[in-house]
């Protein structure tokens, strides 16, 4: 069998025109200016970048195309964007700027045909279904939207199967409970989803060490890993430092 390099993807959060980092989708810390930050990731030659506008859907607005254009002008790697995309036209505007993937979350939950529309026009590889999962009362994990605030009552595994059927090319699976905590991925959640679908699953939420990355790839079959805090802070509780895990070390442990 042939293995591709596991993609390690910085997931960067846009709030207004700044990058921020959150803990469990709250507690915002300012990280920096998007264009300056992506310039550093470009120098570091990261595999791919994912931008999530965390307030677009809540504010019922579309993508901030100006910020995205600034980013695309600096980046020579695959780029994904999620946040506030409600129509094929909005997705097209993001593609035209130079992004090749859009992540759909809230709109997918309320208008599932959008995934299908975008994937039939641009191919399934252009559509990431973003699934945010949070434990609710009584310990049950359900799919959330609008920055974790709205509970769709959907089961994550059933919803993952559904977005695959609708034509999503990959799934960004975020554990809201682990996000920003540095405590490691929710391996059980990731494993249940990777067992249920055949499209690639990007595990997101909880990475704190290189070992966490190895665990979620080897034990939970994640195809790719999204990193938040690890790539924008020096260490847990310390200041901002845009960085990326050592590639040789990563390749060694992912072997």
């Amino acid at each position: 069998m042939t293995m591709l390099r596991t993609r390690i993807i910085p997931a960067l959060l846009l709030r207004d025109e700044s990058l921020v980092k959150t803990v469990r989708f709250g507690k915002f810390t300012y990280v920096g200016d998007p264009a300056n930050t992506v310039r550093i990731f470009n120098e570091l030659e990261v595999d791919e970048l994912l931008f999530l506008d965390i307030t677009a859907s809540r504010e019922q607005r579309g993508p901030n195309l100006k910020v995205l254009a600034d980013i695309a002008n600096e980046c020579f790697m695959p780029l994904g964007y999620g946040g506030g995309i409600r129509s094929l036209d909005q997705a097209k505007a993001v593609f035209d700027i130079g992004f090749e993937k859009v992540a759909i979350n809230a709109s997918a939950a309320y208008n599932p045909t959008l995934i299908n529309q975008i994937s039939s026009h641009y191919g399934s590889q252009a559509v990431i279904a973003s699934i945010d999962v949070k434990v609710g009362l009584f310990g049950k994990q359900t799919v959330r939207t609008l920055g974790g605030k709205r509970n769709t009552q959907r089961d994550p595994v059933a919803w993952a199967r559904e977005v695959e059927r609708l034509g999503a090319g990959e799934i960004l699976l975020t554990s809201v409970d682990r996000e920003g905590t540095w405590e490691g991925f929710d391996l059980d959640l990731v494993r249940r989803v990777t067992d249920a679908v055949s499209i690639p699953v990007i595990a997101h939420g909880g990475a704190g060490t290189v070992d966490h990355i190895a665990q979620v790839v080897k034990q939970a079959n994640a195809s790719a890993v999204a990193l938040g805090s690890m790539v924008v802070f020096q260490k847990k509780g310390m200041g901002v430092l845009v960085n990326f895990p050592n590639l040789e070390k990563l390749e060694e442990i992912l072997k």
Binding site: M1, T2, L4, R5, R7, N42, E45, D47, E48, A72, N73, F76, M77, P78, L79, F95, D96, I97, G98, F99, E100, Y122, G123, S124, Q125, A126, G169, E170, S198, I199, P200, S223, A224
Partner: protein, 202 residues
């Protein structure tokens, strides 16, 4: 000046961004009359083989201009991703013949356990035969790929680089003035930048 052919398929903004970064004049053009004046062409493409060939065949004058550029004027042409597959004679993805500028065929990745299709992500390319297109790319450069079909050229001399994903396939091809790359050079950091720089200097 490089002319990026806009026939309605593909991610043109990022290609333009990359040329801007390396200081090469480039423009996006869809009018066959203007394309006729071009010195160098990039044929991009994302999507389905038949849809792309239909677009090329139905825009009045476009197919003739492209054939003339490639085969008579021998202007340097670079097909990217689907744009490279179009250079072959046929694809298992569709029924419409390709441009057939480089003899070969485009085939689906064989079904194999654990082999996810599309082939999406970074992979290395091994040099197969020396070419102006791949000067100074270094040992085993890595590139970003997204594709479900792959090219096998008939004549090994037309294979510039090969990549392994389940099977070996041609990831960069060339015949005289005509070149193709399966990966996205505009999304492949300095590795892709070098390929586009080389193409700009051919």
């Amino acid at each position: 000046m490089i002319t990026i052919v806009n026939y309605g398929m593909g991610n043109l903004g990022s290609m333009l961004n990359m040329f801007k970064r390396i200081g090469v004049n480039a423009r996006i053009e869809s009018d066959p009359a203007v394309i006729q004046q071009a010195q160098k062409l990039v044929l991009p493409g994302v999507g389905a083989f038949d849809t792309a060939m239909n677009c090329i065949n139905t825009v009045p004058g476009l197919r003739e201009v492209l054939d003339h550029k490639a085969l008579v004027e021998k202007a340097p042409i670079l097909g990217v991703c689907l744009g490279m597959q179009l250079l072959t004679g046929s694809s298992e993805e569709g029924t419409i013949p390709g441009l057939n500028w480089i003899p070969g065929k485009t085939a689906r990745f064989p079904k194999q356990d654990g082999l996810k299709v599309p082939h999406m992500g970074w992979n290395v390319a091994q040099s197969n035969s020396p070419s102006l297109l791949t000067m100074q790319v270094g040992e085993a450069p890595r590139y970003y790929f997204v594709h479900s079909y792959c090219v096998h050229v008939d004549d090994p001399a037309h294979s510039i680089m090969r990549t392994h994903y389940g099977i070996d396939f041609d990831s960069a091809i060339g015949r005289d003035n005509i070149y193709g790359v399966q990966f996205h050079p505009e999304k492949s950091h300095r590795f892709g930048m070098q390929v586009l720089k080389n193409f700009a200097e051919i």
